[in-house]
């Protein structure tokens, strides 16, 4: 199996090499109610090299999910241009997307949801089933193929969404807090799996997370967003693997972590446009 890949496998391998993502002057606003417009993404210029693993971090409502939808080609930017590889983004299984709110198809079983992303391709039934089953095993849902989404727990649903995004062996992975509903230990497992996949298939990854530690564990680069704009763009030059206590004790790790923490805390508390501006700050509060 491992020494002689079948022809379709080879094809998939070839498409699954990462492609770069480029945002140039991208803005997006939404119309709410009586014609008023909320700006969600403002003048974003960002270039992500192919095979790069980029974490996106920032306070609630700052435009992270919107940026991902733009990158997937699901939203048209109001101004500016987005390119994946050399072309505007075209949604498809080659760009894997994990939505923040899962978006499972309620009338399809777990297997049907995961297989959905592959149905456009002309795979034969057994090949498809085989790949779905393998992907379900990967996310720890091997025994649940026949269940419907309403019969799953929150974390299980998230893993189905994850499996659906990965099954197309995408060259670009857009992940919106893909592990938020998982317990810490399952989350570690999934993080390791993601890193292993990244090292094997080299997709370009844009990964939204709420956890500074997760960002520093996974990413080559951390982008900080605030109020729709890119505020900071940090290289993470830590050696991999980074899970060990030693790695976490490195001064570079501590410096980055402290910097990101205070940067986002400022965004949340000290930015006059923030919803929490003026909230009493316990100045004496320390962080570990």
């Amino acid at each position: 199996m491992s020494h002689s890949p079948s022809v379709p496998d080879a094809i998939h391998r070839s498409t699954s090499r990462g492609r770069g993502i480029r945002f140039s002057g991208v803005s997006k606003a939404f119309t709410v109610g009586n014609g008023a417009r909320t700006s969600a993404v403002r003048e974003v210029d960002l270039e992500i090299a192919e095979r790069q693993f980029v974490a996106l971090i920032g306070p609630s409502g700052c435009g992270k999910s919107t940026l991902l939808r733009l990158a997937d080609g699901l939203l048209e930017p109001d101004t500016g241009r987005i390119e994946i590889g050399d072309a505007p983004p075209r949604p498809g299984p080659a760009i894997g997307m994990v939505f923040q709110n899962f978006r499972l198809i309620p009338w399809r079983s777990v297997a049907g949801n995961v297989g959905f992303a592959l149905e456009g391709q002309s795979l034969d039934r057994t090949e498809l089933n085989h790949r779905v089953q393998a992907q379900l095993e990967q996310v720890g849902l091997a025994g649940w193929a026949g269940h419907y989404p309403a019969q799953l727990s929150g974390g299980m649903r998230q893993r189905v969404a994850l499996a659906r995004a990965l099954i197309g062996r995408p060259s670009v992975l857009l992940m919106d807090e893909p592990f938020a509903s998982l317990d810490a230990q399952t989350r570690e497992l999934m993080q390791d799996d993601l890193l292993a996949l990244w090292e094997r298939q080299h997709p370009t990854v844009l990964f939204v997370t709420h956890s500074v530690d997760e960002a520093l564990l996974l990413a080559d680069r951390v982008i900080v967003m605030g109020g729709g704009a890119v505020l900071e763009d940090l290289r993470v030059d830590l050696p991999r693997p980074r899970r060990s206590t030693d790695a976490r004790r490195a001064t570079e790790y501590g410096r980055l972590r402290e910097h990101l923490w205070s940067r986002i805390r400022d965004l949340v508390l000290a930015d006059p446009t923030s919803a929490f501006f003026g909230r009493h700050v316990q100045a004496d509060r320390e962080r570990g």
Binding site: R69, D72, L74, R90, P91, G92, P93, A94, I95, M97, F99, N101, R103, I105, P106, W107, R108, S109, F116, A117, E119, G120, Y148, A150, R164, G168
Partner: protein, 240 residues
Amino acid sequence: MRLGVLALLMLLWAVAADNVSRNIIPSPLETFEAARRLWADGRLPTALGASLVTYLGGFALAVAFALPLGIVMGAFGLLGRTIEIYVYALAATPRVAFIPLIILTLGLGIEAKLFVVFLGAVMPIIINTYAGVRQADPDLVEMARSAGASRSRIFRAIVLPGAVPYVLAGLRIGATIGLINTVVAELYTAVTGLGGLLALYGNTFRMAEYFVIVLTLAAIGVVVTEVLRLLELRLTRWSN
């Protein structure tokens, strides 16, 4: 439970038959007798067969036409908004208004009848399918786009299954109106089938026979809607 209600209705009927003057309502027994007679002499089976052909044929045509149209109207917003008003105008125009035109173009035979049934059943199916398609979950549609699904696959996999409860309600209404229009068709074009018997017994005041025909029609309605209920159970298994 249903049987209990049935028994109650029978009782009510018997009481009504006894109390309404001038034999307008036949007693259950007379009706049963008439049913036996009509069945035995072959009139009822023949008429039933003719009506069923008209009914099911016209209904099938309506489904075949209305589902795609409702879907297309819902899918292409502009098209839907442009033609919906004409659809409603057409829907509100009494069928009898079309009878001369129908006779002129389709004659008096089965084509004309099928068309009258079609006209009646088609509207509710279009309107409900249209409403169902427009109610598709935008999050799921976006997810499907993200998965690279083509327009038609999004329709088949996301929009249509999501519209199933609407479509089924539309089919239910369409089925009942189609049945009513079967009778209309059998009265206004060449007189045949259950509609013909209804006119015959109505005009000659044979109320027991008349009731047999009415109950036969009601029974067809029940059978068809039960079939639709089974279909619904199958299609919505996923929600327990």
